[in-house]
């Protein structure tokens, strides 16, 4: 029954996608849609190969992932401990929590001139802007994860006379881990989005810059192909994060 | 079989329900036949897994029978019928509506104008003992009170038959006994015809004029028992000898069926 439950949605989903692509292909071929605005899907597909060989898309990809990776380290090293700190010091929590949540709503990217001057015209700037954007969910979820430790588990620890340190490492942290990872996953998503966005805006390397360049060159098929590549990378990244979170949750 | 000697309000004729599953056809209910007369309180009792809830859905018109028919008054039931109101086992009040608006819901659906339906709703809200709570939200009420709202809502459209599926299952014992008293009082005041689906023997004997005992799956009628205890009844009746005898008789029947049910479950495990 599970097989048939998944079967029809699968068919409907991919059938629609392929159907739309075929319709677009026909519409462009017969000039109903302007090919100088929307190239044929088959042409776009063909350009993907060109991206790798002529445009060094993999090199740009590496730069983007490097920036995300360094930002990720920052999120873990700064965001998680800070969130845990806030969970323990409730005065600071009450003072700062709404500010941190508010920061998430603010367009931090507009501060790029400041970041450029402090960190130079290079990948570091992008990494730092992305780091700031990704921090709020990491901090807030780490904080909530620790605060959400079930009282009964702490009582078990007390009944065994555990010290505060032991309580933290053996009970609080393991209990908070699922939500910490959730926050990290959210933060990494914001980080990745910011990295690509800033690359596009300030053209300091990476996939964002590549898309911008191809667009300026009016290489339509390649631009569309690059956009698809970026979307594909972002989806794979998201899937990877989900997989890691599930794997960690199962083994923890 | 009849206890009030009046006309039939509900006739269940040879109703069966079979589900198609990957493991083969599942016979949930087989050949159930019984009637409910006007003013009667009839309970259908059976072990867990015997198909009671399926029977409930079929009588209420939420599910179609594979064979046989359900007749209310002079109409065949093929979809939810205006003369039958349902009270579900799970908590089913609309959390975003006040008690008053919850109770008025069936009248709203039927297009009754606002002033009239609120007046009618408040009448039934008072009837279930929730006077003063009209403007409160379900989130502010206890489990027992929320079920009373659901009962008031079901009564608001003045149905010929009130159909209830284990409405007190999620409540504690004391609340259950008190609500049982409340339902009996309502039945007296309104001369309401009630069909109750339950697994609780004392509840069934306390409240009913007649009990239909269902067997374990496939659910068939095992026995019909007339409960010849004096009315009006209250929860005090649970301590009488006659009460004890009825309970023992039904438990005898159910024990067999419940044991079959447990063995089935162990076999699956």
């Amino acid at each position: 029954m599970t097989a048939s439950r998944a079967f029809w949605p699968f068919v409907l989903r991919w059938g629609s996608v392929i159907g739309v692509l075929i319709i677009v292909e026909i519409l462009v071929r017969y000039n109903i849609l302007n090919q100088y605005v929307l190239p044929r899907p088959s042409e776009i597909l063909g350009s993907l190969g060109r991206l790798v060989t002529e445009e060094n898309v993999l090199g740009y990809f590496a730069i983007t992932m490097l920036e995300v990776g360094v930002a990720a380290i920052g999120l873990i090293a700064i965001g998680i401990p800070f969130g845990i700190f806030l969970a323990y010091r409730h005065d600071f929590r009450h003072a700062w929590r709404d500010w941190i949540a508010g920061l998430a709503a603010a367009p931090v990217v507009l501060m790029y001139p400041l970041f450029l001057v402090v960190f130079g015209r290079g990948p570091m700037t992008i990494t730092m802007i992305a780091l700031v954007t990704g921090l709020p969910p990491v901090i807030l979820n780490a904080m909530q994860g620790v605060n959400g430790t079930r009282e009964v588990l702490l009582n078990v620890g007390r009944s065994f006379n555990l010290s505060s340190q032991q309580q933290f490492w053996k009970i609080v942290l393991p209990s908070a881990l699922p939500q910490i990872f959730l926050g990290l996953r959210l933060g990494l998503i914001y980080t990745m989005i910011t990295v690509v966005a800033v690359e596009y805006l300030i053209t300091l390397g990476g996939l964002g810059q590549l898309v911008g360049e191809l667009a300026e060159r009016y290489d339509l098929a390649a631009t569309y192909a690059a956009v698809c590549f970026v979307v594909g990378v972002s989806i794979l990244f998201f899937v990877f994060l989900e997989w890691v979170e599930r794997w960690l949750r199962l083994s923890a | 079989m009849t206890t009030t000697g009046r006309e039939n309000v509900l006739t269940v004729s040879d109703v069966s329900k079979t589900f198609d599953t990957p493991e083969g056809p599942l016979h949930a209910v087989e050949g159930m036949s019984f009637t409910v007369q006007r003013g009667e309180f009839v309970s259908v009792i059976g072990p867990s897994g015997c198909g009671k809830s399926t029977l409930f859905s079929m009588i209420g018109g939420l599910e179609a029978a594979t064979s046989g028919e359900v007749v209310i008054g002079n109409d065949r039931v093929s979809a939810p019928h205006p003369a039958i109101s349902m009270v579900f086992q799970e908590e089913s009040t609309f959390p975003w509506r006040t008690v008053s608006d919850n109770v008025a819901f069936p009248l709203e659906v039927a297009g009754v104008p606002k002033a009239e339906r609120l007046q009618q709703a408040d009448h039934f809200t008072r009837l279930v003992g929730l006077k003063g709570f009209e403007k409160r939200y379900p989130g502010e009420l206890s489990g027992g009170m929320k079920q009373r709202v659901s009962i008031a809502r079901a009564l608001a459209s003045e149905p010929k038959l009130l159909l209830m599926d284990e409405p007190f299952a999620a409540l504690d014992e004391q609340t259950r006994l008190l609500l049982g008293d409340k339902v009996l009082q309502i039945q007296r005041d309104l001369e309401q015809t009630i069909l109750l689906i339950t697994h609780n023997i004392t509840e069934a004997v306390q409240l009913s004029d007649r009990i239909v005992v269902m067997s374990y799956r496939p659910g068939r009628m095992k026995r019909e028992i007339v409960i010849d205890l004096p009315r009006p009844r209250t929860s005090e009746i649970v301590s009488s000898d006659a009460f004890g005898r009825y309970v023992a008789m039904i438990w005898n029947d159910l024990r067999e069926e419940a044991t079959r049910g447990m063995q089935d479950a162990e076999g699956d495990a």
Binding site: R5, A6, W8, P9, F10, L12, R13, V17, V37, L38, A87, H90, D91, H94, A95, W96, D98, G102, A105, A106, P107, V109, L110, P113, L114, V117, V118, N147, T149, E151, L154, R158, S164, F168, I189, I193, V196, A197, Y200, G208, V211, A215, Y224, V227, V230, V231, S234, I235 | L62, P80, S85, F88, E90, E91, S92, F94, W96, F105, P106, V109
Partner: protein, 257 residues
């Protein structure tokens, strides 16, 4: 031990202490900024003094061009939220109430949601030109996903017994929609709109930064090119303030209603 006792139990805020921390934080940040500005550690112009920034705020607010650009941005934002939100609600309703369509298409929305929407902007320019339409389209795409996903999830998670109640009282499809689905969907919708507002603002402003002739994002780029840093920071502070204020307002609204 005392630490962990306070860990999970909700502690009421000691408002005195909290106020002290907040004031101290703001003061320290401002002092550090001012020190960096005056020390010449970084180019003085890029980190202007607080006084200069205050001047920048006033100057910007007094500039009629600001209000004109604000109108452009506000218009693009409004279209984005209405169009993106509206389409999102429709899509969310279809996906949330029909199990087959839901299982088929919700994964598509879910996995496309976290992509950097700005990457579509070059394509939007090809389709809509560098005028306002492309910015509104950018905001619309950004706003669509959070709304569609929240509405779909909210509808999917309606307690099934409530649907049974509606059916048992023979509610028509329109009645089911208005009396059961809509109320159940209200809270997730507000959350979705809050998120949509946040990403829409960013999408529209960034688009204006890259390719525009009008709008607050364009104004930011203009100030940067002219290297009028105090005005730039003034403008950024104003935009930040607006974004945070609206976000806070929506939060209060959703809790109160």
């Amino acid at each position: 031990m005392a630490q962990t006792i306070g860990l999970t139990k909700a502690q009421p805020p000691r408002t005195g202490r909290v106020a002290v921390i907040r004031v101290a934080t703001v003061v320290i940040l401002l002092v550090v900024w001012e020190m960096i500005a005056r020390s010449g550690l970084l180019y003085e112009d890029v980190v202007p003094t607080l006084f200069a920034i205050a001047g920048g705020i006033v100057q910007t607010l007094a500039d009629p061009a600001f209000w004109q650009h604000l109108q452009y941005t506000a218009m693009e934002l409004t279209i984005s939220l209405c169009l993106g939100g509206g389409l999102g609600i429709l899509a969310g309703i279809v996906i949330g109430t029909n199990p087959l369509i839901g299982r088929a298409f919700e994964p598509l929305l879910y996995y496309l949601g976290p992509t950097p929407k700005i990457i579509f902007f070059p394509l939007l320019i090809m389709w809509f030109g560098i005028g306002q339409a492309s910015k509104a389209a950018m905001g619309t795409i950004s706003a669509f996903f959070p709304v569609a996903l929240s509405v779909a999830a909210g509808l999917r998670e309606i307690d099934p017994v409530l649907i049974k109640v509606g059916r048992s009282f023979r509610a028509s499809p329109l009645q089911m929609t208005l009396k059961i689905y809509f109320p159940a969907m209200r809270e997730p919708l507000v959350n979705g709109l809050r998120l949509a507002f946040g990403v829409s603002v960013i999408g529209v402003l960034l688009a204006e930064t890259k390719f525009a002739r009008h709008g607050l994002g364009f104004m930011v780029t203009q100030f940067y090119q002219q290297f009028d840093m105090p005005a730039l920071y003034g403008l950024v502070v104003i935009i930040f303030g607006f974004a945070i204020a609206v976000n806070w307002l929506i939060g209060r609204f959703s809790r109160a209603v």
